[in-house]
Symmetry: D2
Subunit: 338 residues, 4 copies
């Protein structure tokens, strides 16, 4: 009954197999191998456009490198006040950008409030040397509260940002889960909605450790800069094929969407159980995470019986399902509460 | 006939198997898993001491993080003028330290010259605010020229550094190869010789992508700082077990030494072939690399026949063997020259 | 009628004279001169303790260097959400620290709210690697809203910070003004209240351009680090005597307190005029700044008549007096409103 | 008999007077004042072109800010191995660029060797991600050895750099001295010779503390970036008029060239004295510095008699004259040797 995190789950066997399949013969180092090329082609097909990619082994690396290619050291990145880049990455964006600032906005369920965004952008003064002007808007989908933006919601925020000359980054650590619940295509949820650069996650959804930074449209001109930053960040592993093989396996035959679908379904089922026992949802269950306010004593009871999950800062508790969550896991949890 | 790099080789099946074996059930994220604990224990046994570790996926990350824990932004790191940290890491040490300098010394075969080191240390003025004083000595074993330091050679340089209040870092990307050719134990070649922090490589010697930063003795007090830097560097992958499993598989039953032994033997055999055809060794073959000055036309002949290897900046060519190099590879190369 | 800023005022003649007096003969560079020694002695007398100092030419430099000596790149600095270091220094703290974060707290009149501080400190987890723990509390006196902390208010915040193992920084760009209105001594308002490092401003109160970073007590051990950071920040001007002479002239015979007293008195008088004409004070007038909500049309009328002042983000307008503000300036402004 | 440094000299009275003249009435802060405008106009006339400027209080700040506007964090700056930016600025270029590297070249008398430069540029591989490619060539005139480049020597090096897509920076801390000995105009020695950005020094030649960063031609597009970096570097002093007034006074009626001419003449006279007593010039006396190998015992004799000067790392001794050096100073030194 491990609902602590989707990163506690193992890798999906098909992805491990893809890794094993890549383990044959010699291959050029540093991304010059065939698998890296195939990963790019596969991502291009999935996103229905030409694009450039860089593969890294952690979401923090993906986000921070993406932001550093878009934001000068004397600029700022607008994000939600509960965004992962603000709360959980130990200052990685500040480190990789060379000291840029994060500019925090509120919003329900981790979605940046439109009015707050409008006010922040209206107050942005790129030529006023004393303040730090925003150069980037970073959105997360799923949000840090497990909610999904629909494509038009991405598009309206990205559109406002573009009008103010900001670039748009999307943290898609749980992008697959957001696609499933919204029914959107990858293209609709990214470049067609105005996203310039995104972090496309696979680790939380079945990979061993693989995230892709995707550069769309004009942002592709930043590839050389991105590669140089990745290299000096230690994010150019010599045997790149093992990252690429994971991405290939992840995307093959729609595995990634099947896994997300399964995880989302588990979360819905789990939320039903918890709500049925008096829990109250703190946020919509748009993906594989359930944030729920538990009746008195329930958290202790669950913990004592061996279930793992996290208290959240807003007083709720976070339960995360993954591709590996089984009906039995949920039944076992339900049994505790009987 | 891929002699371009040991990073072109695949992973050893036993290491891939260790990865597969770790792929069962849920596990705590970020290093809280059982495999990470076992990796530390295994390294502790191999090095015959208590130690702290951090696992990363590239040698550049290992070196840069290690140096950043030892050197303030306004300090310098002494290294060989051909060291990997100077020539091949795109300024990673400068990035992770926040702008420290590398202070370059000459020396035959990539070994730092003793006299040059003595003069540099004598000129070090930690209290003279205008110059950048050295805080760290970084040695590489194997050196960037494929030569090995013997333990007493490490010890005499480390001893000089310690007397001048410098910490000592060892870049051990090819540490196993150096142990094989010198017959030294891991402990003799590291902390017993005065090394404070080392980068212990597995990637070039059979892993998919895994390097350990090892903290010895008083340097273990830097663990919290190292972890924070790793986190913000994107080098705390959530599913850490897949790095740890590689390290466990690498060390198990002495596999790592067997693989290095095989690679070294291949290099020796290859060097005999090349010398037999008129090549002249530019550096001693102390590990798995052969640097050889080729007779006119030979490089073109080999390339045309499909052998891959690199021209080196000193006019020689570098041929690298790995655990996966076969006698047939070497015979095939010899056949070209017949 | 320039009420735009106290930095629009010229230097006081006595301080210019001190500069001229220092302009004789040769003097050691980089702080080895007699005037720098005298500045330290004068500050030591004024603050009634041994201390170490560093002189710089801007408040931003003073604050950023001070913070960088106290906070690691992976740490955070707690400050008020309207603090100068957050709003007006273009990311200088982030730059000098190597990417530390500012952690923002609310509070009336620019004073950090005690409850908010208590909650922030209670939530501080130095050992939780994902979050960025606070290492420093930075207070401003005067605050950015022109209010003063009294010594016990500094002390209670500093005490809470110290209990949580944070260092305490004080931004004293308008320190003299705060002393005048509270009647506190320099010592009571700084090290006796728990301040470790402070930025002691002279520029806004009559100097040409001079601020001192003061290190108290155990923080004096950071002097070598501070000097190295200052040097590499370009803040070790060779002819340091011209900074030091300003500080000597500033402190001589209590000039600094007389100037602040005059500026404060002008601000009080100005506030009476504006309130008398229907203005409403947004913040207490504890120093030389008046924040006032103006009746409709009054701002335009004043501007049209040639008065300069700034609209503030809270809807009020800021009027700043300096040592050079004359009764005639205030009368002239009053005359516009007649 | 202070020959230790030209920064040991006081400011010229006319420059102090310019400062005093600027000390009247209120003035816009942060460079919005009339004096800053006049300084730009004066520099424009002197350099016979439109240009943009930024004023700072130290040469280290000027150099580091200039380099940071031209070189990305993952790039390198080519300079002489004895350049001030390498040896005497405590890593300021690394700090301001965010970790760029300095790439060192040899050359007689501090002038970068043409052949070495050609080889370095030929080896520059901007697209090879592992190495750090050079983005900037930084020259110094006077060189760190007191020698001058003539305009064609600047031009040939700058031309080579431009062909390789590098920008060109000139450290002109002693630019006036170089103009005097070569007879070149400011324009000939800077933008007409291919310089994009220069540090134009006044401090060593009579100012209290003032250096200008000059942006020529296309580099003027970097002004906004430069201003932002200056601000966050603490190099936007609020009362900018006091920097600007120094620059105005320095340039007025050719004062700067008169002062340099006087300093150069003193150095020539001093060199005659020292050579007449058996000293041997280590470098040409092209400006206000004399590097001389002294006969045994002479350095001790001079020191004992109260003369101050510095031992240089090449075994010679450096004697620096300034605008304030008098014939009596030189006679007094000669008398010691009688």
């Amino acid at each position: 009954m491990n609902f602590a995190s989707d990163t506690a789950a193992p890798a999906h066997p098909a992805i491990l197999q893809a890794l094993a399949d890549a383990n044959a013969g010699s291959a050029s180092s540093y991304g010059g191998d065939a698998w890296t090329g195939r990963a790019r082609e596969a991502l291009s097909r999935v996103f229905e456009c030409d694009l450039d990619i860089w593969l890294v082994s952690s979401g923090t690396a993906a986000n921070a490198l993406a932001l550093a290619t878009l934001c000068p050291p004397h600029g700022a990145v607008i994000c939600h006040e509960e965004a992962h880049i603000e709360r959980d990455e130990r200052g990685a964006p500040e480190f990789f950008t060379g000291g840029a600032k994060l500019s925090l906005l509120p919003g329900l369920h981790g979605r940046i409030d439109l009015g707050a965004l409008a006010r922040r952008l209206a107050a942005n003064q790129p030529d006023f040397v004393h303040e730090t002007p925003a150069h980037v808007l970073s959105l997360s989908n799923l949000t840090e509260c497990g909610a999904a933006y629909r494509p038009f919601e991405i598009a309206e925020r990205a559109g406002m940002a573009a009008k103010a000359d900001l670039a748009v980054h999307l943290d898609g650590a749980r992008f697959a889960n957001a696609l499933i619940s919204t029914g959107a295509t990858p293209a609709e949820m990214s470049w067609r909605a105005g996203v310039d650069v995104m972090s496309f996650g696979a680790t939380k959804n079945g990979a061993l450790g693989c995230e892709a930074i995707l550069l769309f449209g004009p942002a592709r001109q930043r590839l050389a800069d991105l590669r140089a930053r990745a290299k000096r960040g230690g994010h150019m592993p010599p045997k790149m094929r093992y990252l690429a093989a994971q991405m290939c396996g992840y995307l093959k035959d729609g595995l990634w969407l099947q896994l997300a679908s399964k995880a989302n379904a588990s979360a819905l089922e789990l939320s039903r159980v918890l709500v049925g026992k008096g829990g109250e949802l703190a946020h919509p269950v748009d993906g594989n995470e359930v944030f729920v306010r538990l009746p008195d004593g329930m958290a202790d009871r669950l913990s004592a019986a061996g279930a793992s999950f996290y208290p959240w800062m807003d007083g709720s508790h976070r339960f995360v399902c993954s591709w590996a969550t089984t009906p039995e896991d949920i039944t076992a949890l339900a049994d505790i509460l009987r």
